[in-house]
Amino acid sequence: MSKDFMAAGTELPISVQELCRRFGKKTALDRVTVEVPKGLVFGLVGENGAGKTTLIKHLLGLLKPQSGVVRVFGGDPVREPESVFSRIGYLSENRDLPVWMRVRELIFFTQAFYPDWDSGYAEELRKTFDLDPTAKVKTLSRGQRAQLGLLLALAHRPELLLLDEPSSGLDAVVRRDILGAIIRTVADEGRTVLFSSHLLDEVEYVADHIAFLHEGRLIASGPLSDIKAAHCLFTLHFKQAPAAPPVVPNTISREGGGSEWTFLCEGGHESAHRAAAELGAVIAEEEEPSLEDIFVARVRGRREKMASLREEN
């Protein structure tokens, strides 16, 4: 068995190890390690400025790692851009298309870069999206530009689809087109999607795995169901309102007052019961936290920690 053969069988669509990137004084990515397995929808979440776009630009070879390693299908996107690019479909956040071209011209132009271009599929998508082939890109609406960008990213049936904030600023109809494309892509055996989004509902419906970026650092990553199962959200009811805010181990966020306090904690469902027993309270409510609950609690928790550190100094 040749070494190449082994590599082809086991290569991950995306492997990022200890990636660091600074822009001047600002650290955009701080030792980020992410692996994206084949055949999954991977959601990259984080606030604006968390480093999502910077990470995607490294995957495309548009940025060179200052330290760390970036591999796409086992290859280096900076040194072997052609072989990596032919397997990727990419929709940028700004959907920066040449505005002076007509829709038909841009499709022909893009087709020339991809040997596997599927003209039938491109035409099918053009009709679905109702894009006028003779219209100039300049005259297209925001939503139509997104649809055109999506068509160009999908028509060579890429093994890896990279979408940077695909539905930001779009109406519900175009967002459905985009999410539908993500689902269709991954439903085709062996294809992989990575998309970044700050719309956590969307990510929760569509993603298998997620990575949370916060200020350039990865604060959680893995299967969505594992991340959700590793957290619990519950409300404790006290017969007598505690004198001081009650303390529960591994708390990420605490809200409430008087006799009812709500916690989002690390740990499964048994940690809620343990906390209630120890504090002499009853569990008034317990539910599986949504991705948004977890995200908001973590970001808030970090901010509070930073603020208290600053106060101490």
Binding site: V41, I183, R184, V186, A187, D201, E204, Y205, E288, S290
Partner: protein
């Protein structure tokens, strides 16, 4: 088949799918033999991950609500089966329990509740009424 998903309910999406399909099957809105959409089609319709749909279908198959065979698709089984009967009984039991608790909390008597149930039965269509004997 119309399903309603929510991320705010605190219930995992695949569980919501399982519960709603069970209810549709038990109530007869998905008659015996009905073919469910393919995993891919339902994922695209609801805009959710295909693996979530696959997990729900597996669970439904394990509890005997549907069977899936290659070439025949995923179909609703005989709802007269003891399991489906039990499921229907359980759904009704849950609802009645919630109703009785709520009525007591709001200070209504047992007779008030029965009276209201009669009133609503009176508003039903004749063919629906047939199945709700006294």
């Amino acid at each position: 088949m119309r399903l309603h998903l929510s991320l705010r309910s605190g219930v995992p999406i695949y569980v919501q799918l399982v519960t709603q399909i069970k209810q549709l099957a038990a109530s007869g809105r998905l008659p015996v033999g009905t073919e469910l959409p393919t995993i891919r089609a339902l994922a695209e319709q609801l805009l959710i991950n295909p693996n979530t749909v696959a997990r729900a279908y597996r669970e439904l198959e394990q509890s005997g609500i549907v069977t899936s065979r290659r070439g025949l698709g995923t179909r609703v089984t005989d709802r007269g089966s003891p399991l489906a009967q039990r499921e229907r009984a359980r759904i009704l039991d849950d609802r009645v329990q919630a109703l009785v608790t709520e009525a007591a909390r709001l200070g209504f008597s047992f007779e008030d509740v029965v009276e209201l149930i009669r009133k609503h039965r009176g508003k039903m269509l004749p063919e629906q009424k047939e199945s709700v004997h006294e």
